[in-house]
């Protein structure tokens, strides 16, 4: 037993040597590492268990009832559309001029070979990519600043709060005056639509960062920029992606409206032009294409989210076992 309560360097040496000798004590640790599925170093858990074919068959069997119901649901919808247009139903809602599924299909077969149609699609997608991309950059940057710094919040948030309730569409006349070309004003409208959801969700994400993570970051020597980029941003990323999903939806709403009002080219313009030219089947085609493009964009965001936030999916996988 050591009599001295305080450690002179001699007794410290003694104890540290004892510590090295005692090092195998570390092997006590695996007692807490009970779960065998995470024992293989570096290997993703779960992956090797059933064979791929088995999993596909099993997956199909599990998905079959859902697949049947989906087919039934869509089939009924198209049947209803078919009969409503065939017998020209007219009871407050009028199906007199509505194109039938057959007409739509026929026109679509023609449009597939139309370069102009693809051009319209591409123009809309380009406007979305530009407007939404700029909104993402600015929304996330401003959101991080406003969420993290009181001065930025005090100076920037009032302006954004005043502008936020104005729907992007209400900006159309102003945008035409503000921007030199029609194209830039449409991109601007698209930007406005997606900017606010991204901004607000980013702010919310920053505000809900666990304070202990920020403290840990500071203790580990992170400076302000390091903290913002390596702690706050990744911690807020799930909220930011919620903002991106909402923002993408609003971007399409704003884009289509802007194209219908002030546009040249674009799938919204195509749809409105079809109405003006009494090409009623093309209206339905325009709507369907808008829906499909919107769906593809949401899917792209989800894909990007899974790519950038792998820790969330491994967590979900673990929950499934």
């Amino acid at each position: 037993m050591q009599p001295a309560p305080t450690l002179d360097s001699g007794s410290l040496h003694g104890s540290s040597q004892a510590g090295v000798a005692d090092a195998p004590g570390l092997t006590l640790a695996p007692a807490t590492q009970a779960t065998p599925q995470i024992a293989a170093p570096g290997a993703k858990p779960l992956e090797s268990m059933p064979s791929l074919a088995q999993r596909i068959v099993g997956g199909l069997r599990a998905a079959l009832p859902g697949l049947l119901m989906t087919t039934l649901s869509l089939g009924l919808f198209i049947a209803l559309w078919y009969f409503a247009t065939k017998y020209r139903w007219d009871f407050y809602i009028r199906f007199n001029n509505i194109p039938s599924p057959g007409e739509v299909l026929g026109n679509a077969a023609n449009l597939i070979h139309s370069e102009k149609f693809y051009n319209n699609m591409w123009v809309s997608v380009r406007r979305i990519l530009l407007g939404f991309g700029i909104a993402t950059g600015l929304g996330v940057a401003f959101g991080l600043l406003i969420g993290q710094y009181r001065v930025a919040r005090g100076l920037l948030l009032p302006v954004f709060e005043v502008l936020r309730p104005i729907p992007a569409i209400a900006w159309v006349p102003m945008a035409i005056m503000l921007w030199p070309t029609n194209e830039t004003s449409i991109v601007f409208i698209t930007f406005l639509g997606s900017f606010f959801p991204i901004l607000l969700n980013t702010i919310h994400g920053v505000n809900s960062v666990d304070p202990v993570l920020v403290r840990a970051g500071r203790c580990l020597g992170a400076n302000e920029l390091g903290l913002l980029r390596q702690v706050i941003l990744p911690a807020a990323l799930p909220h930011i992606f919620t903002g991106l999903t909402v923002g993408m939806g609003v971007a399409w709403v704003s884009l289509i409206a802007a194209e219908m009002i002030s546009g040249q080219y674009g799938i919204g313009y195509f749809t409105w032009e079809a109405y003006s030219l009494i090409q009623y089947a093309d209206i339905a085609i325009g709507m369907i294409v808008i829906g499909v493009l919107g769906l593809a964009c949401s899917g792209g965001i989800r894909f990007l989210g899974n790519l950038l936030m792998p820790w969330l999916t491994t967590h979900a996988n673990r929950g499934r076992t």
Binding site: G19, G25, Q33
Partner: protein, 291 residues
Amino acid sequence: MNPYVKKDSTTGHIQVENLRVFFGRNSSAVEAVSDVSMQVKPGEFVSIIGPSGCGKSTLLNVVAGFVQPSTGTVTVDGKPTDKPGADRGMVFQQYSLFPWLTVRKNVEFGLKQQGMDNSHRAQAARTLLGLAGLLAFENHYPEQLSGGMKQRVGIVRALATSPQVLLMDEPFGALDAQTRVVMQQILTNMWQRFRISVLFITHDIDESIFLSDRVYVMTARPGKIKAEIPIPLPRPRTPEMASTPEYLAIKTKLRNLISEESLKAMGGELKDSGLAGFDIEVGPQGVAELI
């Protein structure tokens, strides 16, 4: 060979002199820490124990640089602790691993802030994880680990920047009893290898005896140092020591000191909440069970 085990034991001196901390302003100010003087010598393991709300975490936060002293001075190796820094590693009570980083990237975080390049970082992190028996889990995300493993990674991460001192705020408080004993042994091991000074906050008497060279007992709010108890038990310490007369004598002494304060703290809380008229009939033994 391994840069982490060569550290000399002349640095890592925590000196707290006449520290007072008030929260709030003027008339509504609450005194959290009242005239505390204490120190942790280089390489020493010191615990602070006291009833909940006694300001022991506040004291630790001043050393960490998160809270500024109202009066008095707090220095580590002569330098005032006016802001957080990598020279003071900290392990928190809550799990504080970055959930978006793998275990190894968590450990590398501090080294990355220092500008160390990728391959050196990875090498250093793997060395440390190997010492803690965690190398097999380097590519796992924190969510995939048990509570004890998360805290072990937390300790390794705090040690990665070769800090002078390690500050620990009830790091094992959320763990079950068995895991806690294992963690205490691992921590003792790491401490002896690294010869680092440790300031350890706990409310568990056995934990403080098992780990420490010295234990400070704090009073109920406002927190003062009530007693300084040396723990002259030989090292390495084993769980069997818990039944030796020396151990039991220390334990009884500490328990009596803390029971008084817990009683005071509870009386104080009752008075604050307007229940002052009630007499609480709790003996020291009864309260000791509570803490």
